[in-house]
Symmetry: D2
Subunit: 330 residues, 4 copies
């Protein structure tokens, strides 16, 4: 039994880690921090977890986390960098769910601003970096949009077939976090598709880093709680004439053959992945444009589930432990 | 052409008044106040009204309102009392959409606290008080829940047939106002029915005042923007044996014969009244319990539409002017 | 390892049984029937189950089910009676999810019509009949509404404290089944609360049978997929003066002390039970009326989860096996 | 007062015509047909229209329509061609809401199949063809998707600035019609974005016809009743370096200067156009890609509202009559 800590247990990624780890057979959560709710029982803030945890929130101080084998940092970007180096220093493995360690230092500072605790990390997309993750001390868990986008076209990008790709993504509202705002106010979202940052969302830099092609990204929220549907409109390089839809599918099948959480489907529904760590993908090709569609649960494969998948690899467990459960359809 | 002012133009009842009055043929809105948005164009805060108003928000000061024939006060309870007496004093007619003038002074102070500007008002439910409203200087627009509840059973209450009634009401989220909060945060409401103040919501006092019987009231919000569905579970006094469902329907038909905004329907859908000033009602009777169901749009018949209906009566217009448009189904 | 069969695998209760049993450690599903989809892979009809089952649908014939230790019948009422007696005859344990064995024969025939295969069954509400269920050959799984209603007030009913109770229930649309109809057509449900059978829904007979008091029941659907929120408006017998809210809570606490799937909560959200087998309950008392509110997932505690809970008891497993997982919030 | 007929009054576009025309001052609806509901009152099928029409549905026979000045054909493609030529023959003006007269005959037959009653029509997009519509005998009302797509980029297309455009569109479910199906079954749509015909939807031919550039179109439904949000990802021809975002906005402003139903907005919400005939458009440009976003109500500007706008022009009324009302926000 390994001991786990969570820095930042009051937000959605924190409570989702708690949800997933509640049935994980190899680990025990021994510390959950929250400045705001220190001293309160975890289930008082998260009543859906009643009967699963008796823990109280504690302050995010190193002394409470020393016994941990691995710590998840589930705090906003800019904050994680205050904890991660010290944890790594004393030999604790870390999966960071923020943006702080996903990009090279110079790109990070161009996009997010000053970085005061940079160290190298492995980009935690196990479908690409499984072997590196196994040996990593620090894993940077990918952003929710990048996970759905990168997986939807990676088999083509890896073969350098892509000229340009337009990612038109629709995310559930939990992506905006647990804090109420005008953006998350129900009457502003009911029966809505709300585009935002249509040409300048920061997640695009992770996509460019991994895909190495021209990327255009437009995010939207849709009226649902969980899920990201990504439609990748892919224009191929000149090689395209030689490819049929069937051949493209073969490229995907080969690439994802040993990746237990990617399923190729004939069509796509968010409800077929909801609550699960799966990324479902379907492909259509009209001779000019590949339409690759992926669906993930933004809080699972897009955040906490992927973090646990990374933890499984880092601690030497079966990659699927605690995660290989059917989605909650319908 | 009469001149109209609106005190409190930034909230939902304010913008709904503007929506309705935009096509009203007898009046012109000449003043809309908002401390917070003073100097901003109305359509900048309410982009859906672009092309309908060139007005700017002004401060809520008496001098800007003097030319008005009638003013709507669309501010929270406790605030309306700061404006209403001065307006009435200088001869301006007022429809107050807050709770400040709906109850007798002693009941108000028991329920809401100190009242610093009490004057008598007519309770603005035109289906009951049409003639009084025509002559009123100040009309207290009913609460949203009381409108749906009272209309659903008034024909029985008026005949003193009711022993007790349980109102189980489901309101759209706009009832909680324009300000974002944990309560209106999308992920707290998606696929939810959220009961609140299940035994102690203040609107019950209006219902008791008008119905004069034992009233039990439990409100909930449902995942929709507009609409209140009221299910009235009515237990009749001993006279019940003598009544059939048909006779009860006759009582309703007779009472609502000349009331243009109440429609008796065989079944009820919120979408059949959405965006309109109608109150649809259906009746079932199982021999012991009358189930009277009503549907209104909480922002129209439950607030701003009813306020305009009251204005029409107070200014001598056709009761239906500006209001008699079909609902937006589906 | 015990062998399990499912008669009726194409509907929501069938696919939900498959979802739950996919991670159950003591059983293996060896037969799933569907006349319509015979020969098709289970995951082709239910793509969300891809990677969990390689089974094909088979015809619902006895010869394919003989090896089973227990069979779930997940077919409509009137159909289950065609299978259940033969299964019981050859010693197979049965959990029937239809209405066919929930009521005494005479009540059944009054309500549903002719019964051609009546045998005695245990009413499968483990919180009341756990010991009987352990020994049963045939368990009649309760209706979804009755589960939420009965559990919400049973501690009071058992002590004969209730004079009358009004159940105002809101169900997710999956309760209407997998087949498309005008009732389940999206534009008829969006932003809607749709009351139906407001005085004459057949589930009331199960409630009367178990609660033995005056029961009034009005169901509605709300715009969500899963979940039943029950508001029980309870009028107590004369003893009520002697009771405080605290004492009522004590009655509930005592009754549910050893029932792992009932949680007493301070407030209620459907999302705090979604995807789980929990029934959350909260209590308020205003001196005259107890408002007891319960929340269940209609497909889990209201159907297939409760069926697995019954199976666990009947086959001698831990009652919680395969079921004690956190809800999917938010 | 002009007399109006509607062939096909039971579907959504039919009932929406009735909704809009109920408050139109220059026309009277004198005939509404439905084979299926012949003899039934219009408001019995459409209870939301109670108090607005006393008409009964009649058979779609020419003799009942002879007195009409203009007839709307609101029937599926392939059916309209059975009525339109005869109506035109006897001098009745026609607005056809089906696809039957939108394309040239050869394109139509390639896409939809045999056309048995082809005659020339004017493509009814008043923002482009206003003067031709005024003189037309037959107007082909555009498809819902083409309306949103074409208007979103027409000012650029007209100047031949576009190299290619990807239209990623999200439509409300009413676009699928009034008939229940698996596609419109609530649990298949809740919290969903459902892509369909991702590379081969027939509406693309209207777009190509009007825009004359490379068009890629992927439709989806989103969980809402009304509304189409179009995101146009536009790649310009080489001229692009010379253009700034401001200059592009100027092109739009100039083109839409005298078009009362197109509003340029800083951001876009479907709820800002819902229930109205407006098409709201916003523009962003990142130096390589123009993201033009449009929002319409698919049943109004995308169908029946635009049809009435066409009628207004054809019968010599003010283009805005009966249509210039504020959207129903929120």
């Amino acid at each position: 039994m390994k001991y786990i800590g969570i820095i930042g247990g009051s937000g959605y990624t924190g409570s989702e880690l708690l949800r997933i780890l509640a049935t994980h057979k190899e680990v025990e959560v021994v510390a959950v921090t929250s400045r705001k709710y220190e001293g309160k029982k975890v289930y008082q803030l998260h009543p859906f977890l009643k009967c699963f945890y008796e823990l109280e929130f504690i302050k995010p101080e190193l002394k409470y986390l020393e016994k941990c084998d691995l710590v998840f940092t589930a705090v906003p970007h800019g904050e994680a960098m205050n904890y991660v180096p010290s944890l790594v220093d004393i030999g604790i493995k870390v999966v960071d769910l923020s943006a702080d360690y996903r990009l090279s230092k110079d790109v990070y500072e161009k996009v997010y601003g000053k970085h005061t605790g940079y160290i190298d990390a492995v980009y935690g997309l196990p479908e690409i970096y499984r072997e590196k993750i196994k040996k990593a001390q620090l894993v940077a868990n990918p952003g929710c949009y990048p996970t759905g986008c990168i997986l939807s076209v990676y088999p083509l990008a890896e073969k350098e077939l892509i000229d340009r790709v337009v990612f038109d993504c629709k995310s559930g509202i939990t992506g905006a976090g647990v804090k109420a705002s005008d953006f998350t106010h129900y009457p502003n979202l009911h029966e809505a598709i709300v585009p935002y940052k249509v040409t300048n969302h920061r997640h695009v830099y992770e996509m460019i880093q991994e895909l190495k092609c021209k990327v255009y990204f437009t995010p939207q929220v849709y009226p649902g709680s969980r899920g990201i549907l990504t439609i990748a409109h892919v224009f191929l390089k000149d090689v395209k004439e030689e490819l049929s839809e069937k051949e493209i599918e073969e490229i995907y099948k080969k690439f994802y053959a040993e990746k237990p959480f990617v399923r190729l489907q004939e069509s796509i529904r968010l409800s077929w992945v909801r609550g699960s760590n799966f990324c479902d993908i379907s492909i259509k090709f009209d001779g000019e444009r590949v339409v690759a569609i992926s669906a993930i649960d933004n809080l699972v494969k897009g955040a906490s589930g992927q973090a646990v998948q990374n933890m499984n690899l880092m601690l030497g467990f079966d990659e699927k432990e605690g995660l290989f459960t059917p989605p909650l359809f319908p």
